[in-house]
């Protein structure tokens, strides 16, 4: 127990110190973890830690990562990007693999080793590139989008690679292969070939069907308990269960969870699952990168400095050139083409995963894998430099491309609607009708069931939870509409979002006058009293029913609204949160005074009124009009 705690402490403190420093230096979190791993490696040796088995444990983070990648992949989104995804992404992987394979053959590797090397090095670092593009706000430009499609294709290509690599096993290495946790397990080995096929297909079918039909009732059952940790437990149970099932039939656990992710991408529990799994994935991947860092063989690097650096530079040149040339074919021009090619020139974290996988499957000999590991790590270390080249050299020379006139009305960003009840439902329908894309969150599973029957798309989740807001995409959202039915939670949510994401426009439902003041202080942009407008309409209908001319009734209503707004503003400074309203005499007196003025005005006893009902055309007389000049 003591040594376990010590180990956990060592890893956590290394990560907690190194990652923020690396982020601050613009190196990104992946490099931070790698460096942390390098730093603690002597300590791990002293503590006699089995880094390799720790790394196998941490690889489960990759399984979770693919689950999350799957969750992000809505089939519709994939379809929209198909040309670039398949064309740009597919060609990048194919051509880079072929070129790297050629290079590997040239330095005397066997063809199967060369091919595996090509596959491993064709991938770029999703973690570094997406993070950096996001930080620099370049994800939406053409080059960023191109890079994103290539990365997405690579992420998906990992799945068939995981299936392909064991087929490349070298017979002379098989005997010494260790830790093969992807191969068949006892029971399935005893079955005939057709039985095995049936069982495999059945397992995949179970994931797809279970994902489509079982999640909903299960989560509804869990929701009854209203316990946060139960959701987390269920989400973990699902991922681990699928991974187990896949290992049992001899398939890659990553493939299984990826599939489950895609199946659940359209589910209303998507954001809930995402926010539950995300921290585990983050921690395990961090651990994984640290073990990679700890495993870097410095003796090897210093013995072969020229060779390793040469390989790294060669690799980055190949990767850069491939994307640069492809960019031309796919009409990515100017600075965008540079951005795309420069950003994808490194090998990535999947390279680490595939490398340890190839070693475990006896595809690449350990010694060569160690060298490749250095190449991957070095190329990642050099990536921030390439972004600096882009910022300093490319951008200043192509400023013209960037500044196209801000003419067309851009599609506004996504709006997050919190709460889809009587209030939020109407807002959502109006926004959707105007072509705005919304992400709707509601925490009542009964409401969710009802909406599903009407084909309304709503995600399950408590919008007042920061992690769920994060999963719903609050960072990149343009607006948050709060329509939840709880006064304190509404105020709290406004405070949280305004404080953490000041750029987000907040439209919120208020319960009454005093709530308006609270929300204003909390930083809301638009505050709508929930019953005010409908009550004014009811009052106007009453006037019409009493025989008022409809236009006079409308003008009275307008005048009332105008004065009420004025009153709200005027007494706002007198409101005090710590004094009950009925005891705040200053406030009460002012409201009474203004109310009296309003009644008098509306009855027309005072000369000047601020609305159309009393101001308008007075025909001029002859003496009013100037003579001809």
């Amino acid at each position: 127990m003591g040594s376990f705690l010590l180990l956990a402490f060592v890893f956590l403190i290394a990560g907690v110190i190194a990652v923020p420093i690396a982020s601050k230096l613009g190196l990104g979190s992946v490099l931070g973890y790698l460096i942390a791993g390098i730093v603690i490696s002597p300590l791990l040796v002293t503590l006699q830690v089995d880094v390799v088995s720790l790394q196998h444990f941490a690889e489960f983070g990759v399984v979770m990562m693919l689950f999350l990648v799957g969750l992000e992949l809505e089939p519709r989104l994939l379809w929209q990007m198909k040309a670039r995804l398949l064309g740009l992404g597919g060609l990048q992987v194919l051509v880079t693999t072929a070129l790297v394979m050629g290079a590997a053959l040239a330095i005397g590797q066997v063809w199967s080793v060369a091919l595996a090397t090509g596959l491993v090095l064709a991938l770029s670092s999703t973690a570094i590139v997406l993070q950096t593009l996001n930080e620099k706000g370049l994800l939406k430009c053409d080059g960023g989008q191109g890079a994103f499609s290539i990365l997405l294709f690579q992420d998906i290509a990992v799945i068939p690679m995981l299936a392909l690599i064991p087929l490349l096993a070298l017979p002379e290495l098989s005997d010494v292969a260790v830790g093969d946790d992807h191969g068949g397990h006892g029971f399935i080995e005893t079955l005939a070939g057709w039985q095995r096929t049936v069982l495999t297909l059945a397992a995949i079918a179970a994931v797809i069907i279970g994902g489509s039909y079982l999640t909903r009732p299960v989560f509804r059952f869990i929701a009854v308990a209203k316990l946060r940790e139960l959701f987390v437990a269920t989400a973990l149970l699902m991922v681990i269960g699928i991974a187990l099932l896949m290992s049992f039939v001899g398939l890659s656990p990553a493939l299984g969870t990826f599939l489950a992710g895609v199946v659940l991408a359209n589910s209303e529990y998507r954001h809930e699952l995402e926010s539950d799994i995300e921290p585990f994935k983050g921690l395990l991947l961090g651990l994984f990168f640290m073990t990679v860092g700890a495993g870097i063989n410095f003796a090897l690097l210093f013995d072969n400095v020229g060779f390793i650096v040469g390989l790294t530079v060669g690799l980055m040149l190949i990767k850069f050139t491939v994307v640069w040339v492809l960019g031309g074919f796919f009409k990515v021009t100017g600075a965008n083409r540079w951005l795309m090619a420069l950003s994808l020139a490194q090998a990535g974290e999947f390279g680490f995963v595939l490398l340890s996988f190839t070693v475990a499957n006896a595809v690449i000999p350990q010694a060569f894998a160690d060298q490749l590991l250095l190449v991957v790590a070095l190329s990642m270390l050099l990536t921030p430099l390439l972004f600096i080249v882009y910022d300093r050299v490319i951008v200043p020379r192509s400023a013209v491309v960037q500044s196209r006139e801000a003419d067309t009305i851009d599609t506004p960003g996504t709006v997050i609607v919190a709460g889809h009840g009587r209030f939020g439902g109407i807002i959502n329908r109006l926004l959707l009708g105007a072509g705005v894309s919304t992400v709707v969150l509601d925490h009542s599973s009964a409401q969710l069931e009802l909406l599903r029957t009407f084909d309304v798309k709503v995600f399950f989740g408590d919008a007042t939870r920061p992690d769920l807001l994060h999963a719903a995409g609050i960072e990149s959202a343009a607006m948050l509409v709060i329509a939840i039915d709880d006064r304190e939670q509404t105020t709290g949510l406004v405070q949280y979002v305004h404080h953490n994401f000041p750029h987000i426009h907040i439209v919120t439902r208020a319960f009454d006058r005093t709530h308006v003041y609270e929300l204003y202080a909390a930083g809301a942009n638009d505050i709508i009293r929930e019953y005010f407008d409908s009550a004014v309409r009811a009052g106007r209908s009453a006037l019409e029913g009493l025989g008022y001319h409809p236009y006079d009734a409308e003008l009275k209503a307008q005048e009332f609204v105008e004065h009420d707004k004025y009153m709200l503003r005027t007494v706002a400074p007198l409101y005090r949160a710590d004094v009950p309203l009925s005891e705040n005499t200053e406030y009460v007196d002012k409201v009474k005074e203004l109310g009296a003025i309003q009644r008098q005005r509306m009855l027309g006893r005072q000369g000047s009124m601020s609305s159309r009902s009393a101001r308008g055309w007075v025909p001029p007389t002859q003496k009013d009009v100037p003579k001809n000049q």
Binding site: D407, I409, E562, S610, R612, R615, G616, P620, Q629
Partner: protein
């Protein structure tokens, strides 16, 4: 220096590139107040006191709008109905607008030859604008020659068909002429001595724009 306020009124501003670009270009000028009337009063709830205050504070009032039914869009009419009050703009004590300039900037869908005695609109454009001219007179204002783009619909369709291309020279000239005119009004380089008896188009402003912009060219 004269203080200039530009009121832009277009209920379908999304569909009018020329008017939108005119307003955007004008907004980039310094020392000119610009108001998008439909954005400020989307529910026609005009704040009379505030508008009167605005008018008091400016010497030149520019109204930019498309010609609808031979007149202004309805919000401009409502705005005049409410803001140009008896006792403020005309009548006993109504001298707040006295001596100020009223400059119209109008886009008309029909071509220039439609607005003649023998054209399909049967009258010159100035005839359709007589209510506004008389409004100015009643308020003791000077009615400047209206600045007009004829055939705006044709220009619009041409521009829309070439979405990526530069705006046509017609609309580009009109926009450049508009900003030149506004700048000239602001800098007291454009005199309005008496009431207008003619229409002004971009090509007439060559000298004005050139004087203001220096190197500005017009094709």
């Amino acid at each position: 220096m004269a203080s200039v306020i530009l009121y832009y009124a277009h209920p379908g501003q999304r569909y009018s590139r020329v008017n939108r670009h005119m307003f955007q270009a004008a907004s980039a000028l310094t020392d000119i107040t610009v108001v998008d009337l439909y954005a400020e009063y989307p529910r026609f709830d005009i704040n009379i006191d505030r508008e009167q205050e605005r008018l008091r504070n400016h010497d030149v009032i520019v109204l930019q709008f498309p010609l609808f039914w031979y007149s202004t869009p309805s919000l401009v009419k409502e705005w005049i109905d409410l803001v140009f009050e008896h006792g403020f703009a005309y009548g006993a004590g109504g001298t707040a607008l006295s001596g100020k300039v009223l400059q119209l900037a109008i886009t008309a869908a029909g071509p220039e030859d439609a607005y003649t005695d023998i054209g399909y609109q049967r009258h010159g454009l100035l005839t359709f604008l007589t209510p506004l001219q008389q409004t100015a007179r009643l308020c003791h204002m000077r009615f400047a020659p209206p600045y007009v783009l004829y055939g705006a619909l044709h220009t619009e369709q041409h521009d829309a068909a070439n979405e990526q291309a530069e705006p046509t020279s017609t609309s580009a000239n009109h926009i450049a002429g508009f900003t030149g005119l506004l700048a000239a009004l602001r800098d007291d380089q454009y005199s309005v001595d008496k009431d207008a008896s003619h229409i002004v188009q971009a090509q007439h402003l060559r000298s004005v724009a050139a004087a203001n912009k220096g190197d500005q060219t017009h094709g």
